[in-house]
Amino acid sequence: MENFDILVSILGSTVRLSIPLLFTALAGLFSERAGIFDIGLEGKMLAAAFASAVAAYATGSAWLGLLAGIAVSILFSLVHGFASITNRGNQIVSGVALNFVAIGLTVVLGQAWFGQGGRTPQVSGEGRFSPIILPGADAMRDVPIIGPLYANVISGNNILTYMAFMAVPLAWWVLFRTRFGLRLRAVGENPGAVDTAGISVAWMRYRAVIVAGFLCGFSGTYLAIAQSAAFINNMSAGKGYIALAALIFAKWRPVPVMFACLLFGFLDAVANFMQGKSVPLIGEVPVQIFQALPYILTCVLLAGFIGVARAPKAGGVPYVKER
C-alpha cells in the first residue's frame, strides 16, 4: 500500500505541475496555429505572475489578481504582435526580447515597490486561489484505489486547475468548430488564401496573439497565487519553454497538448520525488535527467523518430502581399 500512496502523491503533484504548462501550451497553440511563433510564452507567464501577485496583494482579491495577470500578459502579446505582425519583424527575436524584458522588469519593479529583492509580499486568504474540496472527497477517502485518487488527485485542486482542463475541449471546439478557428488555422497555413478571401490577415493574427496572452495570464496567475503565495524572481523557470516543447510534442493539437503537458508534469513530479533518494542497483539518480527529459523527448520527436511534427506552414513568416 505504501507504493500506491507514493503513486497517488506523485500523480497529485503531476496535476499541479502540469497546469501552468497546459495554459501556456494552449496559449502557444492559438498563436502558432495562426502563424505567429511565440517563444515569449515564458516572459508572458512571468509578467502575468508578477502582475497577479501585486494586484492580489494590493486588493486582497485573487480574481482581481487574475485580471491583472491577464491584462499584463495581453499587453506583452500586443507588443509581440506589433513587432511581428504590423512591422513584420522576426518573431523569435521579438519573443526572446520580451522574455528578457519580463525577467528584468519584474525584479526592478518588485524591488522598487516592496524592497524584498524582487519578491512580492505573501498573500493569503481571499488573495489566493485555494484548494477546493469536491463533495464526498472525505467520505470516499477510505474506498480502496478510487478513494485516494479522488480525494488527492481529482479533488483538492484550485479553481484554475479545473479551468485548465476545461480549456482543452473548449480550445478544440473553438479551433475546429467555429468560423474564428477555421480562419485562424487558415492564416497559419496560407495567409494568402485568407487575404484573397477578403479577410484581414493582420487582424486575424492579432486576435490569435490576444488569445495567447489571455491564456498566459492564467498560467502566470496560477504560479504566483495558486501554487505559491507570492511572486519570486524568475519563478516561471523555463516552464514557458517546456510548454513550447509540449506543443511541438503534441504536433499542435489540443488534446495531445494536454497529454504532453501531463507527461512533462509527471516527469517533473518524479524528479521532485527522486531528489536525494537512491534507486536500488543504480544509486542516486541526478534529477537533472528528469528535467532534461521533456527537451530530449521533443528532440527525438523532431528528429522524426515518433512520426513527423508538421508545423503550421506559414509559421514564423510575416505576411507580405506578393507582387
Binding site: R179, L182, R183, N190, A193, A197
Partner: protein
C-alpha cells in the same frame, strides 16, 4: 425613352496607372471587356498583366484611373470590395489552404454564421448545384493537398463562383496543367461563358489565346498596345505585338548527326525520402550531336532523374555513365569536370543566389577554376571581365554585373544561368525547364543556344513540361509517366499522341 441596345461592358478600365517606385508597371491602361465573353490578356513576363489584374481584384490600388463594373464606377479598396462587386480571381499560385478540405477552402471567408456546423449543409447543397451546372467535379471532402493540380484549380473556380462571381479572372491558369486538364478547363470556361459569365484570361501562351478567347488584348512594357478580335488575328501578329518585333516561333534546325554515346543511363532507380520510387528502372542513351527531350507532366520523376544525373540526388540502384565513365561515386563538381553542365529546373532554388550580384552568380559552381582566382582568393577583376563578356554575348539586361540578381527579370535571370553553363563548352548539357517563366524573346534566344550545342556536336538532355518546347527542340522524345519511360517518339509525333502517353493512357 431610349433603350440602351447593348448592355454595359462587364469591365471598363480608364486611364489606369500604377508605379512601384521607379518601375512603371501600368501606363495609362484602357480596356473594355464585353459581358459574356472570354477576353484574353497576353504579354511577356513583366509586361504588367498581373499588376493590372491585382488592381482589379483590389490587391493594389491604382495611382490614377477609373474602374467601371457593369457601367458603374467603383473604387476597389480591397479584395472584399472586388468580391462583393462580383469579381472572382483564380491565382496563378493557388490560394488554397492545403490541409483543409475542399469544402472548408470554399467557405473560408463566407462561412455564414460564427459556428461551422449549421451552414455547412447549406454550402454543400449550393456547391453540388454549382458543380453540376459547370462541370466542376471534385470531392468536397477531399483534403486539398491530396488532389491533383487540375482538381485544385477547379476548387479555386468553385470558390469564386460560390462567392457569386460574375467576372472571373484567371491568371496563367494552364501553367501547371496537363494538356488534357487544360482542355477540361477550357470546356469549363466555355460553359461559364454560355451561362453569361465574363472571363478574363491572363496568359503568355499564344496557343491558348487562339483556342479559347473571343477578344484578345496585348500588353507590352506596362502598356496596352492592341486589342483584336481573336478570329481576325494570327499567332504571328500577336507574337509581334507582344515583343515589338517578329519572332520565330518554330525553331529552324537541320538534321541531327548523332555521334558516340555521351550519356548512358542504365536501369536507374531513384527513391524519394518516403521510399517511393520516383524514377523506376529507367534506361536510355544520349549521343553527341542530338537533343533528347523528356516529356511528361510535372511530378512524374523527371526532376529526380535530372538531379540524379547532375549528382545532386543519390540513386538507389542503376548506373550513369558520362562519356563512358561511371559516375555513381562522383559528386556534382567532379561530374562537371568530366564535361557535364546542368541548367537546373528552378533557377531561384538551385540556379542562382538571388541576393548575390550578377557577377557572383556568373561563376557559381565554377569558382575553383584557375581563371577566377588562385587558392583561397578570387580574382574579382577577371570574374567581372568574364561576367561582362557573358552579359554582352547573351544580351543580359540591364548590362550591369554589379546589380543584385533578384533585380533582373525572370528571362534575364535565366540567361545568367544559361550563359554560365553553356559558356563552359560542356560535352553534355542537361537542361530542366529552360524557359519556365521566361518571355518570348528570351525563349527564342535560349532555344537557339541549345540547338547550337547540338550542332557543335555536343549532347543535350532536355526536360520540360512544355510540350511545344520538347517537340520543337528534340531529335528524339522520351515520355515519362509515373517514374517510367513509357515510350520513345520522334519530333514528328503529334501533340495528342504525346499527350495520351503523358497521361499514362497510351504507350
Amino acid at each position: 425613352m431610349s433603350l440602351d441596345p447593348s448592355p454595359a461592358p462587364a469591365i471598363e478600365l480608364v486611364g489606369i496607372d500604377k508605379k512601384f517606385g521607379p518601375v512603371h508597371a501600368n501606363k495609362n491602361i484602357n480596356l473594355t471587356v464585353a459581358r459574356g465573353s472570354i477576353h484574353g490578356i497576353i504579354g511577356e513576363n513583366g509586361a504588367g498583366k498581373s499588376t493590372l489584374m491585382s488592381i482589379i481584384y483590389g490587391f493594389y490600388q491604382a495611382d490614377q484611373g477609373q474602374i467601371r463594373i457593369n457601367g458603374k464606377p467603383i473604387v476597389i479598396r480591397d479584395s472584399q470590395t472586388a468580391i462583393s462587386s462580383g469579381i472572382g480571381m483564380v491565382h496563378q499560385h493557388f490560394m488554397l489552404v492545403e490541409n483543409f478540405t475542399v469544402l472548408e477552402n470554399v467557405v473560408l471567408g463566407v462561412e455564414g454564421g460564427a459556428l461551422l456546423g449549421r451552414d455547412a449543409a447549406r454550402a454543400r447543397e449550393e456547391l453540388k448545384r454549382l458543380q453540376k451546372d459547370y462541370g466542376l467535379e471534385v470531392d468536397l471532402d477531399a483534403i486539398v493537398e491530396e488532389l491533383p493540380v487540375g482538381a485544385q484549380q477547379r476548387v479555386e473556380i468553385l470558390k469564386a463562383l460560390y462567392r457569386g462571381a460574375d467576372i472571373l479572372i484567371l491568371d496563367e491558369p494552364t501553367g501547371v496543367l496537363t494538356p488534357a486538364e487544360a482542355d477540361h478547363l477550357f470546356n469549363v470556361l466555355r460553359v461559364l461563358r454560355e451561362q453569361g459569365k465574363t472571363i478574363l484570361l491572363i496568359t503568355h501562351k499564344l496557343r491558348e489565346i487562339m483556342a479559347i478567347t473571343d477578344t484578345v488584348s496585348v500588353m507590352r512594357r506596362g502598356e496596352m498596345v492592341a486589342t483584336r478580335a481573336t478570329a481576325e488575328t494570327t499567332v504571328e501578329e500577336l507574337a509581334e505585338l507582344m515583343v515589338g518585333r517578329r519572332v520565330l516561333l518554330h525553331v529552324e534546325k537541320g538534321e541531327a548527326k548523332p555521334g558516340p554515346v555521351l550519356l548512358s543511363v542504365k536501369n536507374l532507380t531513384v527513391k524519394d525520402s518516403r521510399g517511393l520510387k520516383m524514377v523506376d528502372n529507367v534506361s536510355f542513351d544520349v549521343r553527341a550531336g542530338e537533343i533528347v527531350g523528356i516529356a511528361g507532366v510535372a511530378g512524374n520523376g523527371q526532376s529526380e532523374l535530372l538531379e540524379a544525373i547532375a549528382g545532386i540526388r543519390k540513386p538507389s540502384s542503376g548506373e550513369i555513365l558520362i562519356d563512358g565513365q561511371p559516375v555513381a561515386e562522383l559528386d556534382a563538381a567532379r561530374r562537371r569536370e568530366l564535361g557535364l553542365a546542368h541548367i537546373p529546373e528552378d533557377r531561384h532554388h538551385m540556379g542562382l543566389v538571388l541576393k548575390f550580384e550578377e557577377y557572383e552568380n556568373s561563376i557559381l559552381g565554377y569558382h575553383r577554376d584557375q581563371r577566377y582566382g588562385r587558392g583561397a582568393f578570387l580574382d574579382l577583376e577577371a570574374i567581372r571581365k568574364d561576367a561582362e563578356d557573358k552579359i554582352a554575348k547573351y544580351d543580359i539586361r540591364p548590362p550591369n554585373p554589379r546589380l543584385k540578381t533578384a533585380n533582373f527579370s525572370g528571362g534575364n535571370q535565366q540567361k545568367i544561368v544559361v550563359a554560365r553553363e553553356i559558356e563552359r563548352d560542356p560535352k553534355l548539357l542537361i537542361v530542366g525547364q529552360p524557359t519556365r517563366g521566361v518571355d518570348v524573346g528570351a525563349i527564342e534566344f535560349i532555344h537557339r543556344r541549345i540547338i547550337e550545342r547540338r550542332d557543335a556536336g555536343k549532347a543535350v538532355l532536355l526536360v520540360s513540361v512544355e510540350l511545344d518546347e520538347i517537340r520543337s527542340l528534340s531529335d528524339r522524345i522520351l515520355v515519362m509517366f509515373a517514374g517510367k519511360i513509357v515510350g520513345e517518339k520522334t519530333s514528328e509525333a503529334g501533340e495528342q499522341t504525346l499527350g495520351l502517353m503523358m497521361a499514362g493512357i497510351a504507350a
